[in-house]
């Protein structure tokens, strides 16, 4: 019997496939059976209403998209009153995602969202579209450490820190988040990017710059997961550019325990289900009994390091 389940700290998921925050809502239940997902990840919520950024909020680019949504939210109270019960009609664990104005607000958000029904708190310290310039708490190890420490002080629920691929030294930020008590790391949010319309000479996005996601970013984020997995011992959730079952396997080999999927839901709303089916097929064909065994199974330990010897070998 194939076992697709994975464990992220104390949380058991029926399979490693989750949607990425902001690319999913229960509205997907109009197209797919969302009870089949490993977990449900809600859109990032802030304390107060936010309108988000001026349109256009998304642009198609080679290999994916750039977005500058700007974290619109109806606020925390609406999340607790309306969205939480809506999510709890479904069986997978709920991952709530929070953002905040400053460190104090983050701490208060963690306290206020520490309610029954929320199974995991993902802290979105990495949104590049919240501030016009793209800045965020996950760019520096000490800021990330501070936020995770404060959130940790407020809750016993699992905390997943969502990191930014725009950090100069993402491994340092990852180590800081682990040190501060994060139960897992989500790697990563979107990569700062831009598109200019050459007919109008105008930026394609109302916010001028935005965050890129989609298949083109996968090799970049995969490399980050690989490097971070060598440096931390908490589980990693790979997130960036996944569009098929092999991409999930690749992230797991690099060190991820599970994945989150964003962009491809827009292109193929049935993708997450096809990917779960694809993982089953893939494991069955390879005779793999437990998908969790793939985590960190990349065969990089015995590679020839002598260039001349390697260049003399078959590949």
């Amino acid at each position: 019997m194939l076992d697709l389940s994975v464990r992220i700290g104390q949380v058991e998921l029926q399979n490693p496939v989750m949607p990425a925050s902001g690319a999913f809502s229960t509205e997907y239940a109009s197209v797919i059976d969302i009870n089949r997902l490993g977990a449900l990840v809600a859109k990032t919520v802030s304390r107060n209403f936010r309108a988000g950024n001026p349109p256009p909020r998304a642009a198609e680019v080679e290999g994916g998209m750039i977005n500058s949504i700007g974290l619109p939210t109806k606020g925390l109270q609406y999340f607790l009153d309306a969205q939480l019960p809506d999510y709890k009609q479904y069986s997978p664990p709920l991952v709530a995602s929070i953002s905040a104005e400053d460190a104090d607000d983050f701490q208060a958000m963690a306290r206020d969202i520490n309610v029954p029904g929320v199974d995991v708190i993902e802290i979105n310290i990495s949104c590049p579209t919240r501030k016009p310039g793209g800045g965020n708490f996950a760019l520096h190890a000490e800021h990330a450490h501070d936020i995770v420490t404060r959130v940790r002080a407020e809750t016993d629920k699992p905390i997943w820190a969502k990191l930014s691929p725009n950090a100069g030294e993402i491994v340092d930020v990852a180590m800081a988040a682990e040190d501060a008590g994060a139960d897992a790391l989500t790697v990563a949010n979107t990569i700062l990017a831009m598109k200019i319309n050459v007919n109008t000479f105008r930026p394609a996005l109302g916010n001028k710059i935005g965050g890129m996601s989609g298949p083109a970013v996968k090799p970049i984020v995969l490399r980050m997961v690989y490097q971070i997995s060598k440096a931390v011992s908490v589980p990693i959730i790979g997130c960036g550019g996944i569009s098929n079952a092999e991409d999930v396997i690749e992230y797991m080999l690099a060190g991820a325990s599970a994945v989150e999927i964003g962009y491809v839901n827009f292109r193929n709303p049935t993708a997450m289900i096809s990917i779960i089916n694809g993982l089953e097929d893939w494991c069955n064909k390879r005779g793999i009994r437990r998908i969790a065994d793939l985590t960190g199974a990349v065969r990089d330990g015995d590679m020839e390091t002598d260039t001349y010897v390697a260049a003399a070998q078959g590949f």
Binding site: S30, I32, G63, P215, A245, P269, A271, D281
Partner: protein, 289 residues
Amino acid sequence: MQDFHYASQPFVVGRSTDTDFPACTTVEETLTTVLSHEWVNDEYKHMVVTASPKALTVKPGQFFHILCPSSDEGDLWFRRPQSVYAIDREGGRLEFLYKCVGRGTHGLATLKPGENCNILGPLGIGFTVDSAWKNIVVLGRGVGLATLAPISQMAGDAGVGVTAILSARNKEYLLSHERFEKIGASIVPVTDDDGSSDIQNVERILLELIAAARADAFYTCGSNRLFQVMKRLGAQHGIPGQIAMEQIMACGLGPCYVCVKTFEVNGERVLRRVCVEGPVFDIQEAVGC
């Protein structure tokens, strides 16, 4: 082991079997087959496709999010929204009428009869027609005429009379008139080349219809200027109205908040998502299209 089954076809993930679509879902990502695909003039193409029973539940004003093939060596990464132009429930077909403007629509135009097209839908909230109404007025321009065309089907079924004011650059781009002719609508073509599409002239026509008590409701799509006139006259004369809006979309389903437009409700400005809260909205709440 050489097994590149998935990796070599990264995007066939949408080609799911029926088991992936639980009966309770209302929206389907499906592969349709193109039955015919003809140019109607040098800019617009008319596409007829097969449709599944779920796709055929589409109502006028609703849309499908189409995964267009590319017309060049590259790939497309967003779907393109297209409203349904005609619904043939008995024949199991859907029709689209679209303008070729950019990579997506030019790519769509390359599809030949017999080829597959991946469509997601039906999506959004469509038009409504009240059978208590005697006469409604449809005012559209450009691609908006494609979106308004299926109102003829609804009005025909409800026994409601239609005046269709169709605006275009010249006669060649006057779309959808056959669709309205079929139900015996009174058609008022207005064009740029003879100046009849002039905004004052359109306003005059609308005022005449109001005076003749032939305007129980307004419908518009495709031009901000025409919309503004209809909104103003609708407010002045207490005529309800519906507008179909457009906005760049990513998901088409509601979660991404890419497709927002500004509306004014009880004096307060709010943002609404065109894909799930529209594309058809109350004309008096719309601010600009």
